[in-house]
Amino acid sequence: MESLTLTDVEQKYYSDLFVYCDTDNTKKVASNGKVLDLFRAAQLPSDVVLQITELCGATRLGHFGRSQFYIALKLIAVAQSGLPLRVESLNSVKDLPLPRFVVAKNEQEARHTAMYPDLENQGPYQGVIPRPPARGQVKKVSPDTTSPVVSPHHSPPTSPHAWRKHKRQASGGNVERPPVVVAGAVWTPFRESQSGPVVAGDGMWSAHSPPPVQESWVSLKDTYPPSSSKLPPMHLSPVQENSSIRTVASVATANEIQRQSSSGYDDPWKITDEQRQYYINQFKTIQPDLNGFIPGSAAKEFFTKSKLPILELSHIWELSDFDKDGALTLDEFCAAFHLVVARKNGYDLPEKLPESLMPKLIDLDDSAEVPDQAPDVGYSGSPVEVTPNKSPMPSLNQTWPDLNQGNEQWETFSERSSSSQTLTQFDSNIAPADPDTAIVHPVPIRMTPSKIHMQEMELKRTGSGKMASPYDKSLCCLGCRSNSGTSPEGLKVVAAPPPPPPRPNASHSRSSSLDMNRNFAAHPTGPQQSGVVACPPAIPPRPLPTQTSGPHSGHRSDEGLAAHSTTSPQQIPEQPNFADFSQFQAFAASDQPNDDGEKHPESLPVEKSTEGAGPLRTVKIDNQEERAAATAKGSIMAPPPKPVRRRLKSEDELQDEALPPKSNVIATVLATLPSIPRSVGKDKKAIQASIRRNKETNTVLARLNSELQQQLKDLLEERISLEVQLEQLRPFSHL
């Protein structure tokens, strides 16, 4: 045998081919059958083939050793290039092109259809299609090896991309089975400097094969034997199988089979770009309009060619026809195709359509993207037809409604009673001003003296009594008092806005009132009834409004609040007396000019506050009486200084609790009346507030009056009965 010198490229190529033909994996001998097939595929006249076989020495040997094989290949190249077959030419011919083997691969391109008129003559090789992979592997080498040679002429535009893209596919261990299918197709184009379309088709095919090609590049050397061993079996069938009319489906199937095996990286059902490209092309063969449908009958025909059992095809159809309209859109078609491929590959069909195969919901770019692109999203838009019950909407959608819902709740909080949900949201959304607040009022922290706000306040106030305490807290925190009328809140609001309303107030007046009530009940003084009766109507002390109503002094309000808060605990027991005393004290302290009743209360709180910040409740019963009288006389019944209660009084003043409950009550009532802000500047609001307060006081007093009247009646009746008894007894005494 002449020594054979091969170029590197040739070396690689030949060794790949040898491996390919090495069915028995002997690494030394190529199986005759395969070799002969290969030679036949070289499209040389059979006598030439015989000649070559003879020349290479295989006839002599009876088998194709590696060297024989290589020689044969070289001779084939020689023959193909038109040179006479001479052994001498083996080494003499320079720049001999690599032997070309026409394989079924061409059919693949033919499938790509009209685009590749060159390949039409490959028709008869249709049967080969399914097995391109086998060839592919060997072929792979070809493109790889030849690409350096060929590329300058026509490297498929997309293939580099595809290759790069699919590099990752090589990650799997499946390199050995690089879905080489395309490689076969690559053969001819590469070798024959075919026209652009072919190349392009190649490119697309390369898209399929890139992974394999790439892989082959990378790993071919390593995985030769294993890969090749796989190839031969495949190789045989394609060549010999002529009967079946394999459509692209089968080709694709084969492709995809390879692909599937090699691309198990994340999602076995994921369609790669090349696959999608391929599917799209196939779709085009049936339905040129990518936005259109493939009717069921056409699809049936198409997929039947894949030779899957009808039952399975039926199942595939069920899975992929998302909208159940009996026709396939592009997405549905791709999904179906993918499933067919997978099935061919041996994968079991899923019960449900995998997510990655679900028809896309968005309309993708138009067909402009499709041709020869390997974009990530290269499919043209297809009508969105996703039945909601079929497509599992991303869970993302679920989270949003919740949020929105929450927001709604948040916004409408004022109209509804507070709920923990909104509470939470509020807290999370806005830093709660008062951490103590159990219930977060939806009202914005920045309070503006708006009607709505005040109305809300009112709503809050009229809310459940139970909620009073937390409500009050929150309200207080927000700088509003619920139990009082809107006026105090308004006033308070006025005072509060710039700085966050003073929150320290823990004394929710309402609660305190409740406590007071409890207190009253708990400590029944003398005439229990009256005491008890008297208590409820008593307006709970409202230090806050009065305090804060002093607009001129936010400080004061703070004080007041602080005072209030601190005094609230103390308030309770001393409630009855507290307010009165302080009030009267204020009176006493003041000049007592009663010209302007309003002023009085104003002065009182002022003085009170000035007296001290300590929340001391001082109630002087003695004073109370006087004050009560004085106030009753002098003042217009303008709301006595409420804050009075809070005003610190020296403890000394707290004394004498023997006051008749009624006077206590009266005093209390008077005391609870809020004071009017002193400053004249804020008269209007103050006046309004005071007016409101007065009205409230009036109502309270009226109620009190009626109750007292009732009591009086009872007492009178009692008295009468007693007298009657007495008289009954008297005559006896007389007697």
Binding site: G296, A299, K300, L311, S314, W317, E318, D325
Partner: protein
């Protein structure tokens, strides 16, 4: 697992809603395209029951003389009650019949529920028909159809 299943069965037997004992799809030519019953042992009995119910169906269909499908409602209602079972019928416009057999003891099943069952059957059947790989006249082997029917059947005890 079985424990839960038996529990479910008990629950179902108590709250029998929408639970059929046998469901059948009969072709126009009166041969079954699909028939499935839950206590598999008594399958033959159910087959017989369905078969006899076909007479009633025919009767009801032919009752409407001239105006064919227009006047005839698809839902046929209770075809006939036996001591153990109640049989309901439904006909499509292509003369494909659906028959549902329910347990007589299942009193909670109301007419509306039966109607909805038939509607579901009809929809699934339509889907099967839309499948180009399904040849009308073949037995129905669609998994989706199967699962839909299973959902309607009483849990196997």
């Amino acid at each position: 697992m079985e424990h839960t299943q038996s529990r479910d069965a008990c629950w179902h037997s108590r709250h029998h809603s929408k639970m059929a004992v046998c469901i059948a799809v009969i072709a126009k030519e009166n041969y079954p395209l699909y028939i499935r019953s839950v206590p598999v042992q008594n399958e033959l009995k159910f087959h017989y029951t369905v078969h006899t119910s076909l007479d009633v169906v025919e009767e009801k269909i032919s009752a409407v003389g001239k105006a064919m499908a227009d006047q005839r409602e698809l839902y046929l209602g209770l075809l006939y009650p036996t001591e153990d079972y109640k049989v309901y019928g439904y006909v499509t416009n292509s003369k494909v019949k659906f028959v549902i057999v329910v347990d007589s003891s299942n009193t909670s099943l109301r007419d509306n529920e039966i109607r909805s069952m038939f509607r579901k059957l009809h929809n699934s059947f339509t889907d099967v028909m839309c499948n180009p790989f399904y040849n009308p006249g073949d037995t129905i082997q669609s998994k989706a159809f199967d699962s839909m029917v299973s959902a309607m059947m009483v849990q196997a005890s």
